[in-house]
């Protein structure tokens, strides 16, 4: 058997693929929306296809669309996407436990394709946070499945949206999708504060050139979020001291 066929018949690979199929409808719908949003934001067809195939990070793609449309400077577009993707920086530290033993090239190729859902499925399947036999094949099964479940609907969305008139305003679907993502990250006082500060600062500083309002808003919100957290911890310490 060729290595590829052996992999396709491997039980860990298959389990990784199967676990990801549970999420397939959600991934597909999300990919379709992103495809439509890319095409309807004004990206040309080849650029939308290029973005889908190479960037492969839904939230960062959506967040960069209004910036691209406004002709923001490259560093602002890249900095905003970097911030949206910062969660992956944290995830990469967790993946390191399971992938750190691979040669660097293979490690980076797998790392590039690891989406949020891969981590969720992986942690469900391998609850112990340690390296085990079969994990890498499980991960590869997951990334192959999620890649197909995402790219096919995303490309479909790009090509289908040619038929949808721009006046429908379907680019707004991308904004609505980001809204849900934003709500999902707001779960305590410091994150609420960060979201409100970021939104208000982005509107207030909108007149700044080069879309710098995004940069200002992120800096203000991170500072506010960290301050609130510090204050809360100090408060708890005081309370503990008093009783």
């Amino acid at each position: 058997m060729t290595p590829l066929r052996a992999l396709l018949h491997d039980s860990h690979f298959r389990r990784g693929a199967r676990d990801m199929l549970d999420f397939a409808p959600g991934i597909a719908a999300w990919g379709l929306v992103t495809g439509v949003a890319m095409a309807k934001s004004g990206l040309s067809l080849p650029l939308a296809v290029l973005m889908s195939l190479t960037v492969y990070a839904g939230s960062a793609q959506l967040a960069s669309l209004p910036l691209l449309a406004a002709g923001a400077p490259l560093w602002v577009i890249w900095a905003a996407a970097f911030c949206v993707n910062l969660r992956f920086v944290i995830f990469s530290a967790q993946w390191r436990v399971h992938l750190g033993h691979l040669p660097r090239g293979r490690r980076l190729a797998i790392g590039y394709l690891l989406a949020d859902l891969n981590l969720i499925a992986f942690q469900r399947a391998w609850p112990g946070a340690r390296r085990e036999e079969g994990q890498v094949r499980y991960i590869v099964g997951g990334i192959a499945t999620i890649w197909l479940c995402w790219q096919i609907p995303s490309l479909l969305g790009i090509f289908l949206s040619e038929a949808i008139p721009t006046q429908w305003g379907l680019g707004f679907a991308g904004t609505l999708a980001m809204l849900g993502l934003t709500y999902g990250l707001m779960h305590d006082r410091s994150t609420w504060t960060a979201a409100v500060v970021a939104g208000a600062a982005a509107v207030a500083a909108y007149a700044l050139p080069l879309k710098l309002n995004i940069v200002v808003a992120i800096a203000a919100a991170v500072a506010a979020g960290l301050l609130i957290e510090q204050a809360e911890r100090a408060g708890q310490k005081l309370k503990r001291g008093a009783t």
Binding site: W78, S190, I214, A221
Partner: protein
């Protein structure tokens, strides 16, 4: 609009951002510890970036604050938010928002 070669450059740069962030701690050969304060800051930043992009997209039209309530975006965001409060998620609220947005936009051209 960023187009042509500069558009392609912007997009390939975004692909590099994906590679760098997803591999951040996979890249070094030896393990690196993340300081706790950095970990906290990293958690707030994605939310901040999303909110900073989303809020102007909802309330501003070409840089000016909305002057009318007859804008399909506002009822759509309201519907999306209410749906989220009922059932958190991404897809449900998105569809609820679009169900309000499209008729308003297409029939009443809000």
């Amino acid at each position: 609009m960023t187009e042509g070669w500069s558009g392609a450059l912007a997009i390939l740069g975004l692909a590099v951002v994906t590679v760098v962030t997803r591999n951040f701690f996979l890249f070094p050969e030896r393990e690196v510890k993340i300081p706790l304060w950095l970990q906290r800051g990293l958690k707030v930043a994605p939310l901040a970036a999303l909110a900073a992009v989303v809020v102007p997209e909802i309330f501003l039209t070409r840089g000016a604050f909305l002057t009318t309530w007859q804008d399909a975006r506002l009822p759509a965001v309201l519907a999306s938010t209410l749906y989220y409060l009922w059932r958190p998620g991404v897809l449900g609220p998105l569809l609820a928002g679009l169900a309000v947005f499209l008729p308003l936009r297409l029939v009443w051209s809000w």
